[in-house]
Assembly symmetry: C2
Homo-oligomer: 225 residues x 2
DNA sequence: ATAATGCTTCGACTAATATCGAAATATGAA
DNA sequence: TTCATATTTCGATATTAGTCGAAGCATTAT
């Protein structure tokens, strides 16, 4: 039984609380410095440096040097999707860190999942896109239809340049709280960027939580009804 | 950042090589005794007992006492699906335990994924079912059509009694080797059972690998063309 | 230059835990 | 009963790995 990939390595990397905290912080999508990540993890910078080098070596995170700062992000969306998936099983099994509080409610409502929108509102958008046949599921792949292209055009999202990217245009990601799919891929990224750009919502500091303005949520709901 | 579920706990459980080996062995779907799992993990029974109690306590595996033996299986298909997912990321990141050998090729071809068929042939069946519209993807859920019901009826699989179960009839599971979906859920279980029953294939001892007979593979391919 | 900030390396300490031998418990066989 | 097998518990050991202080390197600010 020594066939196949080694999940123990991946498990042990995530199995340390400090590293898990770092990865969760990076799930918010923003690039963070080593010092910031140390604070998130609740350890000194020396300890953090050791953890970060392990995560980097395993290609779960990628560094980007900028002056004397070193910014980290998750290496790619596969890592983000997997972590979301892991959150799903952990939640289902009842591995919770804190008693459910008001923050938890906000988190379930709307949050950043690495580079796209997750939570109830993310699922809502996804469902709506499928309902109106802006997206179609074909053989496990997600495809953008002509009317979908028009829909995003009207939103001010040009889907043309995305075609060229190696990264899939649209993709489903399983939501840990709703246990339903939401939109990922470069289209998912473009959508959440547009939401922030329009001022419909903003990131909560040091959190994955996305807080919609009253007006923003109204517009969002009308758009994805 | 102490919001949400605790993935570190889940990670550390899988992070130990002995436990990871045990879980991988259980991915073959067969119930195994504590002694067998100890052998799979390469540790003594005392050590295995300790690991098993941890996995059981975390509800990743479930025991079933039978005389003086204690049989373990994965607790539910969510655990199996998650492990398959984890294998996917581990493989993509290049966390392999052994150099790719002939066994690896067989594993990619056809294998058991806890309680259903995975690998190239599993993906092939899934694609075919969608192509012929025996299955439909509706809003992220998989639905069996009337013609699909007839298809399985002809195969000798009665889908009626499955309706009553709480477990979903059909469900997609992401394949680690093909990085495509294959059929899970109770229908997936029924299908692989039928394959074994028909003598089209059999499990390889102490492995997830499923070996098809020449004749069996021909019939399988014709069925899911 | 000199100082300050961000990060890494080194070394020592500590805590956690995987490990197994020995013994205990439980079930089944003779 | 007596013996054999399966599993668990206890206790001791050893290894691992997370931790941080101190020092070093690199970059930026003054």
């Amino acid at each position: 039984m020594k066939e196949g990939p080694d999940i123990a390595l991946l498990g042990s990397l995530i199995g340390d609380p400090a590293r898990a905290n770092m990865l969760m912080a990076l799930m918010a999508g923003k690039a963070l410095t080593a010092t910031e990540l140390a604070a998130e993890a609740g350890v000194t910078v020396q300890t953090a440096s050791s953890h970060l080098s392990k995560l980097e070596h395993a290609q779960l995170i990628s560094p980007r040097k900028q002056g004397r700062h070193k910014y980290f992000t998750l290496s790619n969306e596969d890592v983000g999707d997997f972590l979301e998936n892991m959150l799903g099983l952990a939640a289902k099994q009842g591995y919770m860190r804190t008693r459910t509080g008001p923050k938890d409610e906000d988190l379930r409502r709307a949050r950043v999942c690495y580079d796209h929108l997750a939570g109830e509102l993310g699922v809502k958008a996804y469902d709506s896109l499928l309902k109106h046949r802006y997206l179609l599921e074909v053989n496990g792949d997600l495809r953008l239809t002509a009317s979908g292209k028009a829909f995003f055009d009207k939103l001010g999202i040009d889907t043309m340049p995305m075609k060229a990217l190696r990264r899939p245009l649209c993709k489903a990601c399983l939501d840990w709280s709703a246990r339903r799919s939401h939109l990922a891929g470069s289209l998912g990224t473009a959508l959440i960027d547009k939401i922030f750009e329009n001022g419909w919502a903003k990131r909560r500091e040091n959190s994955r939580i996305v807080t919609f303005t009253r007006e923003g949520e109204k517009k969002f709901s009308r758009l994805f009804s």
